[in-house]
């Protein structure tokens, strides 16, 4: 069963079409990437999914149907711009927000302690939220997102304001939540994080879907006809089916002639008696695909 089904949703604010006929599905238990440059409509899409806004057209099904008040307790949400009550002590703030997710006082006490320890906030629990650093506030907000053990976690830019150590900790936490069975939607413009964590993704630009599918499948789809090779012996100047040979970091990048498959090249190299140390198809990074799609508008959703 899919946890989220977004079906042709559109949303216009005044003259701006923030989301334009976007569709995608998030399967149960997967870590899904919602990507796009700044101002692409990612946050609006999330707000439509969370029923903060109603779409002008199209439908959203979440956890098996329309959003209800009861379902809100099964969802954890980390908004892009972090919001916590600044004037009250951290522990009171976290307790209040957790209680709004339906947790009882004893449940909160039991779950908050290990989370505060895990996020290194135990010593700051009595401090007012405004006295905490930006990174600490972000970690506190992550506690609010997961303390009620939600089935669906939606997090908007989870790594902004975090140092490398905390970034790694959040990555581990996301993997851990997924392993426990939670479905996670991660909204970001940091492609390397998506590459590392996500199974599938949708890329939105100017409100429209530009790319949608499994990460590796997308990379293969965007692969240019090139192979990377490294051999013990020097390469011959001319190889059948190869139009150009370019040295690259101790390897060679070979451009394939039209109609030539990487397997043909591998066969050709082996038959000429070369000892192969490395042979791989040159898959583009998600960053390259992102720039290509957003600048070149060559989306293939």
């Amino acid at each position: 069963m899919n946890t989220i089904v977004v079906d042709h949703i559109s949303k216009t604010f005044g003259e701006t079409r923030a989301v334009d006929d976007v569709s995608f599905e998030v399967a149960q238990g997967e870590l899904f990437g919602l990507l796009g440059p700044n101002g692409a409509g990612k946050t609006t899409a999330i707000r439509l999914i969370l029923d903060i806004f109603k779409p002008d057209s199209g439908t959203v099904a979440i956890l098996g149907g329309e959003m209800t008040e009861a379902k809100k307790d099964r969802i954890g949400y980390l908004p892009e711009e972090r919001g916590l009550y600044q004037e009250i002590p951290l522990e009171r703030c976290l307790t209040y927000l957790a209680s709004l997710k339906g947790l009882t006082r004893p449940q909160i006490r039991q779950r908050l302690e290990p989370l505060l320890e895990k996020f290194d906030l135990v010593d700051h629990r009595k401090k007012k939220v405004k006295e905490l650093s930006k990174g600490m506030q972000q970690k506190a907000q992550l506690i609010v997102t997961i303390i009620h053990q939600p089935e669906l976690i939606i997090i908007d830019e989870p790594f902004s304001a975090l140092d490398p150590i905390n970034t790694q900790m959040v990555k581990d936490m996301l993997r851990e939540e997924r392993n426990k069975g939670a479905t996670i939607v991660m909204c970001t413009h940091q492609m390397n994080q998506v590459e590392e964590l996500c199974d599938r993704l949708v890329l939105i630009d100017r409100g429209r879907t530009m790319l949608y599918g499994e990460l590796n499948e997308i990379r293969r789809r965007y692969a240019s006809p090139e192979v990377i090779v490294r051999t013990l012996e020097p390469l011959p100047a001319v190889i059948n089916g190869i139009t150009e040979i370019v040295p690259q970091n101790g390897d060679y990048k070979l451009s394939l002639a039209e109609g030539v498959r990487p397997n043909d090249v591998l066969g050709e190299l082996l038959s000429s008696g070369l000892t192969m140390e490395k042979f791989e198809t040159a898959l583009p990074t998600l960053d390259e695909i992102f720039i290509d799609v957003v600048q070149g508008k060559t989306g293939r959703a």
Binding site: R47, I52, K54, D73, P79, G83, Y85, Q86, K101, Q141
Partner: protein, 406 residues
């Protein structure tokens, strides 16, 4: 319901437990105490307690007595001594035994002439105490109860034609309490409403709102906030009004004059009936201000548009005191934003026809409910608008569509 209670409790405690609330709470009684002390000091400094004297050429004060002070007066009268002639009186004045003396003319019964002799301008109480003394002794020449009626002011009771409600003109508190309660009401409504606006704008600005509306419904959030705001305001009012009442009750046991002062229960019921819808009305308007505004400065501006009308009755207070049943006064009693301060003010000095009270309450309750409805609509649409103002047109178009958020 549980979440509504959680929001209410959070809103209430986060304001009440803050230092600024305690300061606001204490500022009013501190102000009142400081003012009272200043007034007492000023009176004490002004009023010379040195006795006064008189020389009676007319013979009307031959068997004169000073009235005992204990029955119904707050301050004691000056001691008054008789002198056989002006020379002895002048001597006493020069030596400082008395601060002034009066000379009652021979033809006083015909002309009413009395001369006052003093070294410097005497305080008001010198003249008023002697007048009182003279009137008391003139009246005492007549048999009871005629003497008492001649000496005392008549007890005027005002009655409305169509009902048996009445107001007694001699009750001091009847005049002071509506004014004081009105002012306290304005302060309470404004401070608590100010907190509500500020909290809303803050939550919008720092995006806490986003977290909260993905946990509870916007309706629950708004209702909880408004209830919290009203509770904060009522806490202030109860403490501000409750403590003086307690003080008066305690005072009444030791000071008999205080026990003589009664508060008109009709007025108390009127205030109680006005208080809650008025609070809801203002809190709803504040919620609208907070949800529509893009920043705190704009929110304060919108909020002041709603709170200024509450003061209007005080701007016109002299005109209203002169003519409490004029068209303006009646109009302001009916207009929901001015009714909570206008009705008590008029109730203190006149008898308000029952239909006006009824109509005013109906209008107030109706508009409070209307504002609540509008606030919930504005809240749903405006709560997550950042940097973009909500237009009135949008509100009604969207309400036809069924709102932005369920």
């Amino acid at each position: 319901m549980k979440k509504l209670w959680l929001i209410f409790r959070h809103e209430y405690t986060r304001h009440v437990l803050r230092k600024r609330f305690l300061m606001a709470l204490l500022s009013v009684p501190i102000f009142v105490v400081v003012m009272s002390v200043l007034v007492v000091i000023a009176v004490a400094v002004q009023n010379d307690r040195t006795p006064i004297g008189y020389v009676d050429h007319s013979g009307v004060l031959m068997r004169a007595q000073q009235r005992s002070d204990s029955d119904d007066s707050f301050g004691s009268s000056l001691q008054i001594s008789s002198y056989p002639n002006e020379n002895t009186a002048r001597e006493a004045l020069v030596t400082g035994d008395i601060q002034a003396y009066f000379v009652v003319a021979l033809d006083y019964m015909r002309t009413g002439r009395v001369a006052l002799v003093a070294e410097k301008q005497p305080g008001d109480n010198v003249v008023s105490d002697f007048e009182d003394f003279l009137r008391y002794n003139l009246a005492s020449q007549y048999p009871a109860p005629l003497d008492e009626r001649l000496y005392r002011q008549p007890l005027v009771e005002m009655r409305a034609l169509e009902t048996d409600r009445q107001t007694a003109s001699n009750q001091l508190l009847n005049m002071i309490i509506p004014m004081a309660v009105g002012v306290l009401f304005i302060i309470a409504v404004n401070t608590s409403g100010g907190y509500l606006v500020q909290a809303l704008v803050e939550e919008k600005e720092n995006r806490t709102m986003e977290i909260v509306v993905t946990s509870v419904s916007p309706m629950q959030l708004m209702t909880g906030k408004i209830m919290g705001d009203i509770a904060v305001g009522l806490t202030q009012l109860v403490l501000w009004i409750g403590f003086p009442l307690l003080a008066l009750t305690v005072l009444a046991t030791v000071m008999p004059p205080v026990a003589g002062l009664t508060i008109d229960m009709g007025f108390v019921w009127l205030m109680l009936a006005l208080l809650l819808p008025a609070f809801v009305l203002v809190a709803g308007l504040m919620a609208i201000a907070g949800a529509t505004a893009t920043d705190s400065r704009e929110a304060q501006q919108i909020a002041s548009m709603f709170t200024l009308p509450i003061f209007i009755p005080y701007w016109f207070s002299s005109a209203i005191l002169a003519n409490p049943n004029s068209t303006v006064a009646v109009g302001l009693s009916l207009f929901p934003l001015t009714a909570p301060t206008m009705l008590p003010l008029r109730a203190a000095i006149t008898v308000i026809p029952a239909w006006q009270i009824a109509l005013s309450l109906v209008l107030l309750v109706t508009s409070a409910l209307g504002v609540l409805w509008l606030a919930s609509r504005v809240f749903r649409i405006g709560m997550l608008r950042y940097g973009k103002r909500l237009r009135l047109k949008e509100l009604f178009i969207r309400s036809k569509r069924g709102g932005a958020v369920a």
